[in-house]
């Protein structure tokens, strides 16, 4: 039973493809575990679809449809079965994470970062300013109190933890921003494994200036 879900603004960012890569990985994992958020994602995508439907029009080139027809008429039909998913990974590991790790939690090469806390930086190419890692907290271990410069999202994959804001079990998501000060504690006999994604403040000097130019024209 999942008690802590994705926020609307995270789901909207995911539905529009604008969520940074590590965050999108975390959201994909939660969606595999949570049918509530999955149907909320459906709503967000329906909203996006309706926005596309009502967006303004710009005329494409006149010969485009003929070019397109010429292209598809050469295609051999693709059987529907070709689009089905590959076999499921080890139980307990979300598919999206399995695709990154290639194995289960037992085979992870953890690095000690302090007493009772280990981490593994995920081998994905994160978006700028982002870091995606797995954390393993030993039972009873109290994380030093900390706050965040940017935002942090955490998804529990095994065990559970508690902090000032509540108790987080498998599938639960915590979204913390720069105002949250917390001290998470792994609160069962089992190691607590989490996927944690941080988003440091970005330095925008020269960052995609071309892409940002049209921002005020919508």
């Amino acid at each position: 039973m999942i008690n802590h879900h994705l926020s609307d603004e995270i789901l909207w960012a995911y539905a529009t493809g604008s969520l940074p890569a590590g965050h999108a990985l975390l959201v994909s994992c939660h969606l595999e575990l949570c049918s509530d958020c999955k149907s909320r994602l459906g709503e967000a995508e329906a909203l996006a679809g309706a926005m596309l439907q009502s967006t303004e029009q710009q005329k494409p080139s006149d010969d485009m449809f003929d070019l397109l027809m010429a292209r598809v008429e050469q295609e051999a039909p693709v059987p529907a079965a070709a689009f089905l998913n590959e076999p499921k990974p080890e139980k307990g590991v979300p598919t999206a994470l399995w695709d990154v790790l290639g194995h289960g939690y037992d085979a992870i090469k953890w690095k000690m970062v302090g007493p009772g806390i280990r981490q593994f930086i995920l081998p994905i190419k994160p978006s700028e300013g982002e870091c995606a890692r797995l954390l393993k907290l030993s039972p009873g271990f109290v994380t030093p109190e900390h706050s965040h410069h940017g935002s942090e999202m955490t998804l529990v994959l095994q065990g559970s933890f508690s902090d000032e804001t509540g108790r987080y079990k498998i599938g639960d998501v915590q979204e913390a921003d720069e105002h949250v000060h917390h001290q998470p504690v792994a609160d069962t006999e089992e190691d607590c494994i989490c996927l944690a994604v941080t988003d440091a403040p970005l330095d925008f000097k020269g960052f995609l200036p071309k892409l940002l130019q049209p921002l005020f024209r919508i």
Partner: protein
Amino acid sequence: MQLQNNDGDSENCPTSAELSALLQTLGKDRSREIFRELFEFFAPRLKTYFLKGGATSELSEELIQETFVIVWRKAEMFDSRKASASTWIYTIARNLRIDRFRKERRYLYKDDQFFANEMVEEETQLDDHHQTQLSERVKKVLPLLPAEQSTIIKLAFYEDASHSKIAQQLELPLGTVKSRMRLALARLRKLLEGVDL
């Protein structure tokens, strides 16, 4: 299938239900004429979508072509109980845009994954009437949002702008961007419940 009435202000535009019916028919008979109708409706809108995302006119047209190649290939998998035609085509276009501009995220938005995942939760399926109605409702309520809220929603949709980028661009704290987006989406949901077609 029950077709809905037009909005009145868009006399020549097919309704959501009509678009979904077209796409479903395309899946069955691969008619060139139906393919053309869908193309004529969506291509000019997709062009705006790709252009605002930062693509050149040339690249936008290439991406429109790629979108429709996938529509052609996968039309028989379209199921109007799971999504309206515009939502289905939107997700294809979105995935292609990520593929082109945001390669680090591409593995998360595979079309194959999208369609396969959609098959998992049988019990969350709604009837097609609901899906197409939702599209019509959204079209009606979007203009009712206050500008500061709709701007933030549209920045993510058109420009692929993350929360941090929006914050930077609008010179607002990150928390304000998130809470405005949350308010906007909550308000939309409320408006959607109240609107009559």
